[in-house]
Amino acid sequence: MPSAVVWELPLPMKTETKCKRGRHGGNKCGRGNKGYARGGNRPRLGFEGGQTPFYLAIPKYGYNEGHSLRRQYHPLSLRRLQYLIDLGRLDPTQPIDLTQLTNSRGVTIQPLKRDYGVQLVEEGADIFSAKVNIEVQMASELVVAVIEKNGGIITTAFYDQRSLDIVCKPVPFFLRGQPIPKRMLPPEDLVRYYTDPKNRGYLADPSKVLEARLELGKKYGYVLPDMTKDELFQMLSTRKDPRQIFFGLAPGWVVNMSEKKILKPVDERLLKYYSS
């Protein structure tokens, strides 16, 4: 048996703190000691005891002027796109559209918050390796180059507010029982953007778009893969009409979900209006 046992003192000595038990924290309930804060009689938010508060001292400047009228485009990085394709949430063997992106919950578009669609962003340009036929609202030059290098096709298209709402949430629209409206043309500020072949705009001349593809290949130093020999050439070359909102559905048709039927108008005037 040892004559003496030696152990280390547990320094610093910790006193047991009794836990505060009440519903709102117990004891002082997180309100501290004396003062008006304890009794809940605090002044308004931003008050600094009489000193000119920060929000009044700083002079005004129009940084946020007209912010609610500015168009917003939700960013979608190439990295996220690759992630969605790899996980199987997006099908690269079908044209990728805003509807597909929304259905796969890749992006969440809020048309009521001045969102006008999706913009492709360059993050992940070095790891992107998917062949897709994608349609977005805005894309930079590098993004276009990356997608075309991998043998895909990118188009930039405009959706007005009503069409955007329909494209993002097709099922609630079909349940409304309204005929599919025709997509409106972009406003004047965006006409130049969507008629430019460099942006692969949907209103641009297709022959000029082909030339632009070659030029971009020369600029970034890659050879354009020949798409006519591709097995998915048919799918890759499908593009929407400027007035079309959904692939395979024309404006003027009524889609009925419960009976799985499509109703098409027969009247001449309606046909003329919806096909103009």
């Binding site: 409304r176 029982g177 009247d267 209006y273």
Partner: protein, 217 residues
């Protein structure tokens, strides 16, 4: 419309639902069929008689809702209104491009005009600078001369009055005026003398008109 349906399905309801309390109110849901709002009943809400509601019912239930599908599309009047609105507020692509081209041309024309103006004015700049330099030198010279003149006057006054004179005193100014008058008289005399000398010289020599005629011939 609701009441007969309820009566018809009441035994179904009684069979399907568990026993509810005495004086339980009517059930809010129906077991079969689509609810058709009665247009003659004053208690049906107005919004249930609107075409948008009917379209929604068609969208949810299809032909079972009893809605005429032809009513889903706009009527001729509505179509006319829509077309007029589109013609006014949504110009075609060609018109928008033409308007943009016009704007760009106008902006370019104004820019070119402004640049031409600037170029023309900048071309004049060296000459204007030189002129200004000359004006500056002339102004300096004038200031110097004025100073010298004032110094002379002060010196003259000094020798006149014997002590330092304040230039703003009335005596000094009277002296200045006297000197001015004297100078003018001297100048006039000089001019007169020059004129007389010139006339005498002219009278002495033959008339220069004949020499001019000889030359012309």
């Amino acid at each position: 419309m609701a009441a007969p349906m309820e009566r018809a399905c009441s035994w179904l309801l009684r069979a399907a639902t568990p026993a509810r309390g005495y004086r339980a109110g009517p059930l809010k849901y129906s077991l079969g069929g689509v609810y058709q709002p009665d247009p003659d009943d004053p208690s049906t809400p107005k919004w249930q008689l609107q075409p948008a509601y009917k379209a929604k019912m068609f969208g949810r239930y299809g032909s079972a809702s009893g809605v005429d599908p032809a009513r889903l599309w706009p009527s001729p009047e509505q179509l006319r209104e829509m077309e007029a609105e589109e013609r006014e507020w949504y110009p075609g692509l060609r018109e928008m491009e033409a308007a943009l081209d016009e704007k760009e041309r106008e902006e370019k024309r104004q820019r070119v005009q402004r640049e031409k103006l600037i170029k023309a004015k900048m071309a004049k700049m060296p000459q204007l600078i030189a002129e200004w330099q000359q004006e500056k030198a002339a102004r300096k010279q004038q200031v110097k001369e004025e100073k010298a003149q004032r110094a002379r006057l002060v010196a003259k006054a000094h020798e006149h009055f014997g002590n330092k004179v304040n230039p703003s005193s009335p005596q000094f100014q009277e002296l200045v005026q006297e000197l001015d008058r004297k100078e003018r008289k001297e100048r006039k005399l000089l001019k007169k003398q020059q004129k007389e000398a010139a006339e005498q010289a002219a009278a002495k020599t033959p008339a220069p008109v004949s020499a001019g005629e000889d030359l012309a011939a």
